[in-house]
């Protein structure tokens, strides 16, 4: 939102010149604009400035450069501008800009858990007939479902990435710990690390800020619980069940006894406490490693002390982690539908997805997964993804995120609230959002 004013000015100027171009080209073509270019009426002008919204620092710079260069090479006369958005508050920003014909970006990245709501609301263009060209059955199946509504696909997969555990090898050695193989061993290791490192006082055996519901749901699933389930078109919250509560209790123990993170903090920028030497273990997306290795933002001197493993479940297999990631969609209100489709095609191309894979992101096309490599990060990524789960496939799920119901729940859990009572409240609040 930094430059919204200049941008809207520029946009309206661009709009005027585009309109002028359209009028001119229509006048020049006269009535015999039958075949040939075609689709100008609904596909948009032949050249334009395409605006692409990418969120956070997830997409590596090399991929951004590739997208811009390729697009401008393939579409002479057109330009592509990448506008980086914050993940925080994205639902709000999409709600307001996507509905405006003059302000809407042409292509947007949207969290995989948020895609269904916007697909159902009619915010995106139907991409079903391009699905085969973009990868078809090769695309991450759960993500295609997340971007589909009533049999049509509106948002295609962009990348995926389950979180895995980063740990400090030196601190493990000092405490005489081995890499945990079950959830119980993991919880014990977190407690041991915390005891073993009394200084600094905010040291975390396992760094677990209160708002971090995306990591917390893993423990609910691992204990056999669910977030919410559908029965006959109506959703009901499942956090009150005995299994879910067992998981929530485990979260409370970890947050209260093993974590020194803020009880109401959020999970953005985990590299800051990590680089400050305040973290023994943390569960973070793979690209955080890039931030740690970065000389300016991170602490390359700690990089060779980092080990990673997929969070173990109670049965010794990888625990069910929330499969994070993004979808990519074309805004229905964009006047440049054809050019926007071109940009999406590049983002799902071999070249682009290879760059994502090389940077630790699970590519949108399953056949490219080998490109992740075979170092410890790739092994952990693949192991974590093998048992990954998605948030409930409810059209209203983005509203649950918008209302910050789960953030509130886990902040209160971190603060020592009564688990049973809080689970009941959260279930009621979710049902209100999902069934309205």
């Amino acid at each position: 939102m930094r430059t919204s004013h200049t941008r809207s000015l520029r946009r309206s100027l661009a709009g005027i010149s585009t309109a002028a171009l359209v009028v001119l080209s229509l006048a020049a073509c006269g009535s015999d604009d039958g075949d040939g270019e075609g689709g100008e009426a609904d596909g948009g002008p032949a050249t334009a400035d395409i605006r692409v919204w990418l969120n956070g620092a997830d997409t590596p710079q090399a991929a951004r450069d590739y997208l811009k260069t390729e697009f401008e090479k393939e579409n002479p006369g057109s330009t592509l501008t990448i506008e980086e958005q914050q993940w925080e508050g994205l639902v709000e920003r999409l709600t307001t800009t996507l509905s405006s014909k003059t302000e809407t970006p042409d292509v947007v990245e949207i969290g995989n858990t948020q895609a269904a709501t916007f697909a159902a609301a009619g915010a995106f263009s139907d991409l079903s007939d391009q699905l085969d060209e973009l990868g078809g059955d090769d695309l991450l199946p759960g993500f295609v479902d997340a971007g589909s509504y009533e049999g049509k696909t509106y948002a295609v997969p962009y990348y995926a990435g389950g979180k895995y555990v980063f740990y400090r090898k030196d601190l493990f050695d000092k405490a005489g710990l081995a890499v945990p193989t079950t959830t119980q061993e993991f919880v014990d290791a977190a407690a041991t690390l915390k005891e073993d490192n009394p200084k600094p006082a905010n040291f975390s055996g396992f760094w677990f800020p209160g708002q971090d519901w995306r990591n917390a749901v893993t423990f609910v699933w691992n204990a056999g619980g669910e977030i919410a389930t559908e029965d006959g078109g109506s959703w009901s919250g499942q956090l009150e069940t005995a299994e879910s509560q067992e998981g929530l209790q485990q979260v409370q123990d970890l947050m209260q006894q093993a974590s020194g993170a803020a009880k109401d903090g959020n999970e953005t920028d985990p590299q800051i406490p990590f680089c400050a030497g305040e973290v023994g273990m943390m569960s973070a997306p793979g690209w955080v490693n890039g931030l740690i290795e970065d000389a300016e933002a991170g602490c390359p001197e700690l990089a060779d002390k980092i080990g990673v493993f997929a969070l173990p479940g109670s049965d010794g297999q990888p625990a069910p982690v929330l499969l994070g990631g993004s979808n990519i969609a074309v805004a229905k209100n964009s006047p440049n539908q054809d050019l926007a489709d071109e940009a999406v095609a590049i983002m799902l191309s071999d070249g682009y997805q290879t760059i994502l894979a090389e940077n630790g992101l699970t590519p949108a096309r399953t056949s490219l997964a080998d490109l992740l490599g075979d170092d410890q990060f790739a092994t952990a990524t693949i192991a974590a993804a093998s048992n990954a789960k998605l948030t409930p496939a409810a059209p209203g799920w983005a509203k649950v995120e918008g209302a910050r119901i789960l953030e509130d729940l886990f902040v209160e859990i971190a603060n020592g609230g009564d688990v049973a009572e809080l689970a009941k409240e959260a279930d009621d609040a979710m049902e209100e959002q999902l069934n309205s």
Partner: protein, 323 residues
């Protein structure tokens, strides 16, 4: 009114129009219209900027308007359903109480501190006054988001300077979260809001105090009035009209406070327990896509504003008539 100039020059009789009555001056009706014509641009701007959203909002409050409608689906008319659902929701009444309490505490604190600073400014030497005024101006000129971000950092539970300082002084504030407890959350919010609004009150009241003649104050002093009596019986009555306007503005501003709360909620705290009407309307509308409900809550808030400010407006109008 100064815009309507009446020509005082002697009226020169016009030559008689053939077959008509003598026309001595322009028709009265046209001249009477001038003030209204001059008001048209301002009224048009108001109608466009305030009238349209208001009409749209009232219309929205009678509709079931969700995310689908935002992207073009037809909206269903639901009559008073939104109002019924809202008034039956106990959360709304919690919010009303919370919002009004927050507003009154903040407006009260801002007025008291602002008045105190305005009085202090009177007795400062020129150079000190300039320094204080510059500091006030800087606080006033700081963009809200930047200001709240700085306050957030100051009160950060992990790396904040406030916790560091209190721990240094012997308190147990290591990792203490200032936002997790609603009362303490509103304490921080109050600090931010009051800090940002005091300069306006201080400047306005300082200007008003300059209008109170010095000899009246001196006369009171000679008559033996103490500092408190001079304030109560001379200075305050002298700036009463300004004080009323400032209080009115402050109440309206603090009632619809949004940015500070919304930004702080992102940094910590429990959203549901720290919502005020402003953030609730935004969240239910923009975040949850329930635009009908949000519009209804906004209408409710408008009514609340009118109720809270009506006594002031009535008083101001009465005093204007009397003077």
């Amino acid at each position: 009114m100064a815009l309507v100039v009446t020509p005082e020059a002697p009226v020169v009789p016009l030559p008689e129009a053939p077959g008509g009555a003598p026309r001595r001056r322009r028709p009265r009706g046209l001249r009477g219209l001038t003030p209204y014509v001059l008001m048209v641009p301002a009224l048009a701007a108001l109608a466009l900027a305030l009238g349209y959203p208001l009409v749209r909002q009232v219309a929205l409050s009678f509709q079931d308007f969700g995310l689908e409608q935002q992207f073009g689906a037809p909206a269903e008319q639901v009559g008073l359903d939104n109002y019924r659902a809202l008034l039956a929701d106990s959360y709304l009444w919690t919010l009303v109480f919370r919002t009004v309490a927050f507003c009154l505490v903040n407006a009260g604190l801002t007025l008291v501190i602002g008045l105190a600073i305005a009085l202090l400014l009177r007795s400062m030497s020129r150079s000190v006054r300039l320094m204080v005024q510059s500091a006030l101006l800087l606080a006033w000129a700081m963009p809200v988001i930047s200001a709240v971000t700085v306050w957030e950092w100051l009160f950060d539970s992990q790396y904040g300077v406030v916790n560091w300082l209190l721990t240094r002084l012997g308190g147990d504030y290591q990792g203490h979260s200032w936002l997790i407890d609603p009362l303490s959350f509103f304490l921080v919010a109050t600090l931010v809001v009051v800090w940002m609004s005091v300069p306006f009150v201080a400047f306005t009241l300082h200007a008003a105090l300059l209008g109170v003649a010095d000899d009246v104050v001196e006369a009171a002093e000679v008559d033996g009035a103490g500092a408190w009596q001079r304030l109560r019986h001379v200075l305050l009555p002298g700036i009463r009209p300004v004080l009323l306007v400032v209080a009115l503005l402050q109440i309206v501003w603090d009632l619809r406070v949004f940015t500070q709360i919304y930004k702080l909620q992102g940094a910590g705290g429990v959203t549901r327990e720290t919502n005020l009407l402003g953030t609730y309307i935004y969240r239910s509308g923009i975040s949850e896509g329930e635009f009908g409900t949000a519009a209804t809550a906004a209408i409710f808030m408008l009514a609340l504003t009118v109720v809270l400010t009506a006594p002031y407006v009535v008083r101001m109008l009465r005093e204007e008539r009397e003077s």
